[in-house]
Amino acid sequence: MQAPPGDFVTALSASLTARGEQVDLVQLESIRERFGLDQPFLVQYWKWISGVLVGDFGVSFEWRQPVGELIGERMALSLILALATVLFTWAVALPIGVYSAVKKYTIGDYLITTIGFIGLATPNFLLALVLMYVGVVHFGSDVTGLFSPEFRNAPWSFARFKDLLAHLWIPVVILGTSSSASIIRIMRANLLDELPKPYVTTARAKGLSEFKLLMTYPVRVALSPFISTIGWMFPQIISGSVIVSIVLSLPTAGPMLLTSLKAQDMYLAGSFVLLLSILSVLGMLVSDVLLALVDPRVRRR
């Protein structure tokens, strides 16, 4: 973050003069030493990190507020968006993956893989903009942001939660399309490995119906690699959500990260990157734990 030339103060003076404010160089100098920006990089970094360990994420230069206050709700919303996308992806990818594996090399299979790839291939920021435009112009729906105006600053209540869900479907669909494509292919590959296995024939010899047999045995076995891939996909969803949030002006971590990076607001930007990374590592941890729960082989070995 420190790499770009100049620092917060040069960015501040730039944005002010851009709007006709008259800011004197000497005044800028006083702001710089008040924020401790004139100290060497390592000193600043050490002060910040030691603060983070004890829960104080430093103060944002631009907003003169503790970073903790600023990013609190935004990180929570980022988490909600990511979780919603994961659930959406699972709900979509699982059945489609199973269908395309069972109906291998039929029209249905090719159709689904193509649609899946289209989801993977369309740049999601483009999809976001077009969806937003269509939403506003043709349906007149209030699309921007995660809350309609009256709920934006309201305390957390069930009504606000309902309002959140009403707005959440657009970003979730956009993010979901790109991630579900790869998951469908993984599920299909896993299932194709399991179908010819002998325990499937044993189950058939026991007299189970095809559908029941499919669901209880091969799908159940193919589920465990499926869950572990979700863990690996979490970071991808997090970073994808940054772009989509910027386009849709969502009150999540994305837009604020971009503006803080451009304003070179070090502590704010640093905290975001730190927390986003922790979030994705947590995602992977959760998926590993889930894997152990689902697959006895992992548990008992």
């Binding site: 100049g6 040069t10 960015a11 404010e21 008259q22 800011v23 907003w63 506003v136 921007t144 386009v247």
Partner: protein, 628 residues
């Protein structure tokens, strides 16, 4: 227009919400809330109805302009009806200026109160000026507060009279007090803000600790706004203000909307004694990026707005969708200047490029070397007139030669001019060569917004390469990176756009290199800024212009000021340092048709914000009086 009506003849009325509060005993009756003689304002269309809310949009990084557009409370303000050439009383009831423009006396309204009910007296102004503006921790103060090298001297004559005096004539000072950037005198209530002030609050250290701050200046900013950047004042809902609406949902990092509500002690009434403002609440929706704001506007979420969304490219879209939510196009007029100001770096560090740029014929060749009409038809959809960075014909400041010389496209003349200054040779790609054999190649610095400015630049550089064999490359970068390069004089050329109206309150930076905006002579700007300690001494013709400009600040009459500017423009026309592309044209934002008392148009530049129209007289012309 503000006419002084005898206030006592009126029976005051107030908004229903306030009447209820008065009945419940939370508020004193309206008569006690208003000053003895409240300012009486005649609404533009008609007497309004009290109504619920008005919505506006804002976007971008720490952008306060759209919020403060609704209320700037200077002692005086520009007069909308005199096209901003005159200054009229505002917070001050009246004012006198001595005949040699050195002493300015202001008379306040008796009984006028802050939004928390405490009386507003000369003591508050004295505290704001002497204890904050001129406090040594906040030096140096902006040059506008001094004249002839001497800082302003402030004297409180009695509870309702104050006096500002200078050693030399400074007629422009009234325009400084009217400017939205210098509202310090009426910004700080002594009782409320003294807790943050070292001289008044003994246990300041403890309070700083409690708010985990380390510096009293941060505490002052948190309470009542940044003393240097007055725009930053909407973070504290308890801040006592004189504005028509006070902040309720503050503008903080990460907030998605800002809400301001009616100030029950607002000191203005309409001609029928109704306490203003008519509209109860202002809701500012914060968007992540300009596209989001445009979408909000198309969806009807912006009742009155022209900044950011009002570009020529958006106009067809705004026009088409306005019908769906009862809006109409709202003109944001131009007060002068050009859509793209092209500035070659005349104090370039590379001697060969410096010599080339300082050749007047080179600059003339560039100006007449591209087809302005083609650029206007393409990048500005034909909505433009070739023009340099100067006031328009209808402005008293108009200088015909400086505004219109070398505008006609003449490819052959341009090429012969270039041959004339020794650039006859060309390399295999057809690019002209400098005497040293180096190809004529340089980079123009530009920021990534607004899009139509980049389009104009791309077309100009394309035509220079094809028509003249001069290889100019645009380098489109992020604002802060461009400034860190240009301010250190490491650029070849740079572009911006400017509203050169040459009216008071703004340095005409394409005439005199006194601010870092004058990117054509950064070394000279350094020289003036450091009183000669840094930078480069400018040639005589620039020194003469700066002298004339300093004199214009003290010009006793408007005609004297115009004469000074005509002389400056005459010298600048001879030098022809910079050139423009097209007149700044009227851009169009959106306004709800049902919103009344709104002036037919407003200048696009944020130097003359909406507040000069007295937006507290706006009202919803619907039977419920509420937003449709």
């Amino acid at each position: 227009m503000a006419i002084a009506l005898p206030a006592f003849a009126l029976e005051y009325k107030e908004a229903p919400e306030l009447a209820a509060a008065v009945a419940a005993g939370e508020l004193p009756p309206v008569a006690d809330r208003l000053p003895d003689e409240p300012q009486v304002v005649a609404p533009f269309n008609a007497i309004g109805k009290y109504g619920n809310e008005l919505r506006f949009g804002l976007s971008g990084q720490a952008n306060h302009d759209p919020i403060r557009a609704w209320g700037n409370m200077g002692l005086v303000q520009h007069d909308y009806d005199s096209n901003y050439t005159e200054v009229i009383p505002h917070v001050a009831e009246s004012f006198d200026v001595n005949d040699d423009n050195t002493v300015f006396t202001f008379y306040l309204r008796k009984g006028m109160k802050w939004s928390d009910g405490t009386p507003f007296t000369a003591e508050d102004i004295e505290f704001a000026v002497n204890d904050i503006l001129l406090h040594e921790d906040l030096q140096p103060v902006s040059p506008v507060w001094s004249a002839g090298g001497e800082v302003v001297e402030f004297r409180k004559i009695d509870d309702y009279t104050v006096e500002f005096s200078f050693t030399v004539p400074y007629s422009e000072f009234l325009y400084v007090l009217a400017d939205r950037r210098y509202l310090q005198p009426t910004l700080y209530q002594k009782a409320y803000c003294s807790r943050a002030h070292p001289d008044y609050n003994p246990n300041l250290e403890a309070e700083l600790e409690a708010n985990n701050l380390t510096d009293w200046r941060d505490y002052l900013r948190k309470l009542s706004g940044d003393p240097h950047i007055v725009g930053i004042r909407f973070e504290n809902p308890d801040r006592p203000t004189l504005e028509a609406w006070k902040i309720v949902v503050p503008y903080k990092g990460g907030s998605t909307q800002v809400i301001l509500e009616r100030n029950p002690f607002f000191w203005q009434v309409d001609t029928e004694g109704n306490q203003l403002p008519y509209i109860n609440k202002l809701v500012g929706l914060i968007y992540g990026d300009p596209e989001g704001m445009l979408l909000g506007a198309i969806g009807g979420d912006n009742d009155l707005g022209y900044t950011i969304i009002g570009t020529p490219a958006n106009r067809p879209l705004l026009a088409k969708t306005a019908k769906h939510h009862g809006s109409e196009l709202y003109p944001a007029t131009a007060i002068g200047g050009t859509s793209l100001l092209f500035q070659l770096n005349l104090t370039h560090k590379d001697p060969e490029l410096r010599a080339l740029f300082n050749e007047k014929n080179f600059r003339v060749a560039l100006s007449i070397g591209f087809d302005r009409q083609e650029v206007i038809d393409t990048a500005l959809f034909g909505d433009g007139v070739p023009w340099h960075n100067a006031p328009f014909e209808d402005s008293p400041m108009y200088h015909e030669r400086y505004a219109t010389q070398y505008l006609k496209f003449d490819k052959n003349e341009a090429n012969s001019l270039l041959d004339g200054i020794g650039l006859g040779e060309r390399n295999s790609d057809g690019i002209r060569l400098l005497p040293s054999g180096r190809p004529v190649h340089f980079v123009v610095e530009a920021i990534d917004r607004p899009p139509e400015r980049i389009d104009q630049l791309e077309m100009m550089t394309q035509q220079w390469r094809d028509n003249l064999g001069v290889d100019v490359r645009p380098n489109i970068t992020e604002t802060s990176l461009m400034f860190s390069r240009v301010n250190n004089n490491n650029h070849d050329a740079a572009i911006w756009s400017d509203f050169a109206s040459w009216l008071q309150g703004r340095v005409p930076y394409s005439l005199v290199p006194l601010e870092f905006d004058s990117r054509w002579g950064i070394a000279w700007v350094d020289w003036y800024k450091s009183d000669g300690k840094r930078g480069e001494e400018p040639p005589d013709h620039i020194k003469k212009r700066v002298y004339l400009y300093q004199m214009s600040k003290g010009a006793p009459t408007a005609e004297a000021r115009i004469d000074y500017f005509q002389q400056i423009a005459e010298i600048a026309a001879d030098q022809f340092e910079t050139f423009g592309v097209s007149k700044n044209m009227t851009n169009y934002g959106l306004k709800k048709i049902a919103l009344k008392n709104v002036r037919p148009s407003n200048p696009g530049s944020n130097q003359y914000p909406l507040s000069l129209q007295r937006p507290w007289t706006y009202f919803w012309d619907t039977e419920s009086g509420n937003r449709p």
